[in-house]
């Protein structure tokens, strides 16, 4: 973490102000989540869902909405030509941390909304609300930090949008696996507490947010 928090919060504030005026990120994430849950609801309306299948659907929707919308915080800077603004005024660490913080906030909001829709609209029974909540929130943080890193890596490339998705998916597979296990447990599959999944996802989030500024700094200097 850089010595001064001021530049990090300045980057976060810029992202927040931009998002509050354009609503592009939350609209993309929200629409993907909403449409996916509605379609799943239509498909599974009369069928009782196996917890493992339900958990798989939950994490598939969250992962794809994040992989599409979150890297945009970096990609749009290159597209609109504002990446030079950061290079002139900021350090790569401040830019990465600020954008990661914003993406984590956005993903936490999306996960809460998605979870509420999921529990209301799909035929699932929540057995362990605490495990479900912890698993979802830890997963949101891990997915957001990983997607931010993918966006940072892909941003300088000419086919950046496709590349960021291609980078995100292999990075997120381990996380999805942990998340599905944890959510399935919370929905009544097995007797495990799901603690290992939550700890694993938090560790993954710490690893990607620690690695992110180092990787982004190298890209910045090249």
């Amino acid at each position: 973490m850089p010595s001064s928090y001021k530049p990090i919060f300045a980057v976060f504030r810029k992202e927040w102000l931009t998002e509050s005026r354009t609503l592009s990120g939350i609209t993309t994430t929200g629409l993907i989540c909403f449409v996916s849950v509605v379609i799943l609801n239509a498909i599974t309306f009369t069928t009782k869902l196996n917890p493992l299948v339900a958990a798989g659907m939950y994490w598939m929707v969250l992962t794809f909405s994040a992989a599409i919308s979150l890297p945009r915080t970096f990609l749009q800077e290159e597209e609109q030509g504002t990446a030079d603004f950061w290079r002139l005024f900021a350090t790569p660490e401040a830019v990465f941390w600020g954008k990661a913080l914003f993406n984590i906030t956005q993903m936490l909001i999306a996960t809460v909304l998605m979870s509420v829709m999921f529990l209301i609209m799909l035929p699932v029974k929540l057995q362990n609300p605490i495990a479900f909540t912890l698993n979802g929130l830890a997963g949101a943080v891990a997915i957001a930090s990983t997607s931010t890193l993918a966006g940072a890596i892909a941003a300088p490339a000419s086919n950046r949008a496709a590349l960021s998705t291609a980078i995100s998916v292999p990075l997120l597979i381990f996380l999805i696996n942990l998340g599905i296990t944890g959510t399935a447990t919370a929905l009544g599959e097995g007797l495990k507490s799901g603690e290992n999944g939550v700890i694993g996802m938090i560790a993954y989030a710490i690893a990607t947010t620690t690695l992110g500024p180092v990787v982004y700094s190298k890209i910045w200097k090249s």
Binding site: P7, K14, L17, R21, F85
Partner: protein, 201 residues
């Protein structure tokens, strides 16, 4: 860039070159700037003026050569202003200045004097996407001089500016040469007169 330990030296460039594919844009340039200097960079379209200025601003890397400056904090002491430099469409004029100050970890200062100086006092709450190209140029000038840098790198200063804007350019050039050094890329005969040194590419 590496700092040099001589108080008078603002910028020292040795053997800087830039190549795009097989084509050398320029080779082996040496530049020395001290306080009070104003270097005018001229040349035909495509000669590499803007690329040279981006190199000096740290936005591009040279193929060969070294750059050394006489100050530590590059974010505060080196500024760059260019027509093709983008600003954030959804942020207002004041929010841009606040963002730049916070990124440099500067203490929050009122921007009213700076806004009046660049003629944006009536546009401070307008988003950048709603500003004309001339007003956006004034915003970029405000961002460039906000930290009172020791080195100001300015690409085509007068483009998109009206008569009052050109007077602003003259005023900023005068203040900058009193505070530090300046590099201008221009083919405008009026602006060339500001120079103490010249470099033709």
């Amino acid at each position: 860039m590496y700092p040099v330990h001589n108080e008078d030296v603002i910028l020292q460039v040795r053997g800087i070159s830039k190549r795009f594919g097989p084509r050398w844009l320029f080779r082996g340039l040496d530049i020395d700037l001290e306080a009070g200097d104003c270097l005018i960079v001229t040349g035909k379209n495509g000669s590499g003026k803007s690329t040279l200025l981006k190199l000096l601003a740290g936005l591009e890397r040279p193929t060969e050569g070294t750059l050394q400056n006489g100050f530590d904090n590059e974010q505060s002491n080196r500024s760059y202003c260019a027509l093709d430099q983008a600003v954030f469409p959804a942020l207002t004029v004041t929010e841009h200045l606040e963002l730049a100050a916070q990124l440099r970890s500067q203490s929050p200062t009122p921007h009213s004097e700076l806004l009046t100086q660049v003629g944006l006092q009536d546009h401070q709450n307008h988003q950048a996407q709603h500003l004309s190209s001339g007003l956006r140029s004034r915003l970029k000038i405000a961002l460039a001089i906000q930290s009172q840098p020791k080195l100001l790198i300015w690409d085509e200063p007068g483009v998109a500016l009206d008569e009052a804007g050109r007077e602003l350019v003259a005023k900023v050039v005068k203040e900058q040469t009193q505070r530090g050094a300046l590099i201008l890329a221009t083919n405008d005969p009026e602006e060339r007169r500001f120079g103490t040194h010249a470099l033709e590419l």
